[in-house]
């Protein structure tokens, strides 16, 4: 199967500084966005993004190019986010009822508009999904990754990713219907 060549792979493996800088610049915002969707708040997401890039940098030597560099980066970020969610402190906070929020929660000057309210409700509903479904839905809808790429990031079969997406949307719809009713 003909596949588009990873534009970053060779230069990054050769540790070319300009390529590394360009890679970090191109992927910081999507990575922080993804992590913000996964974890409690923007500060945690930024901290995890830093850790993700550091781990990416130190494990470049062992990276054999079995997936794209972007997938490799997001896989590291995803695993760090899962570890973060599993940590006792975060679990306690969520159990205590503090609902995780997105990074720009309360920052937008238009937060009183209907659209912004709806967005907030959607992001809240997203965070009630199980982590795998949440990851798939975020990677698909916020970052436009293909199902194949998502499968690489999450180390899952493509069919499983599609199932997670379908059930994720169904669950979201159910959650939103309940929240609209109440």
């Amino acid at each position: 199967m003909a596949e588009a060549k990873d534009p970053w792979l060779d230069d990054i493996k050769a540790k070319r500084q300009d390529a590394l800088e360009a890679f970090v610049r191109a992927h910081t915002a999507p990575l922080v966005r993804y992590l913000a969707g996964m974890v409690r708040n923007g500060a945690d997401a930024e901290e995890l993004a830093q850790e993700t890039f550091l781990r990416f940098a130190t494990s470049l030597g062992s990276f054999r190019g079995e997936c794209s560099t972007r997938s490799f980066l997001f896989r590291i970020g995803h695993n760090l986010a899962l570890n973060h969610l599993a940590s006792a402190t975060v679990r306690r906070e969520i159990l205590a009822g503090e609902l995780p929020e997105g990074p720009n929660q309360g920052r937008s000057p238009h937060s009183d508009t209907l659209e912004e309210e709806r967005n907030i409700r959607l992001r809240r509903a997203l965070k009630t999904l199980p982590p795998q479904q949440r990851s798939v839905v975020i990677l698909r809808t916020w970052l436009d990754l293909s199902f194949r790429e998502i499968a690489e990031v999450l180390s899952l079969a493509e069919g499983t990713v599609k199932a997670h997406y379908f059930f994720g949307l169904k669950n979201l719809r159910k959650t939103l219907e309940v929240s609209y009713d109440t």
Binding site: R33, F53, E115, N119, W142, F166
Partner: protein, 177 residues
Amino acid sequence: MIHDQAVRLALTGSGLMPADVEQHIEHCGRCRQEIDALRALGLDLARARPVLSRDAEWEEKLIARTVSAVRKPEARSSRSLPWRAAAAVFILSAGLTGALSVLRLESTGRSIQANLSTKEQQSVSRGLDALAFGTTEDSTATLLSLTESSVGDQVEKQSADALGDYLGPADTGGWNG
């Protein structure tokens, strides 16, 4: 179950669907409604993606840290060379010391064996024969008697030597009688 399958394929498929599924969707209002609703939800979610304010300073720091982290492993490996050499020398000398100790113990054992009298050597072999072919009581009794006699002889010999050292030849009837 066909409804779920049809909706899933419509949402996640690359466009081409099996003919029976396509036919089902065409005739099933419930499926069409769900497909539309979930597609709309996907679009709403895409619009709800958080807009991040770019912090240029933070981003520059992040880039600098990442670039230096890529270079660090190389520096670390060249810096650790002397330590690795020192560790190798230490392990080698510890091994040599251990081997020498074992050799010394072996030679001591051999000299003790050579100093045993013929009678004692015979007793040892008798004891071992009893252990191999006789009853447990026989072998134990033989080895015990051997031990007692050997220990007795040793104690006697050592006591005499020690006493001789302490008293000197005069007290033991030496020198001038």
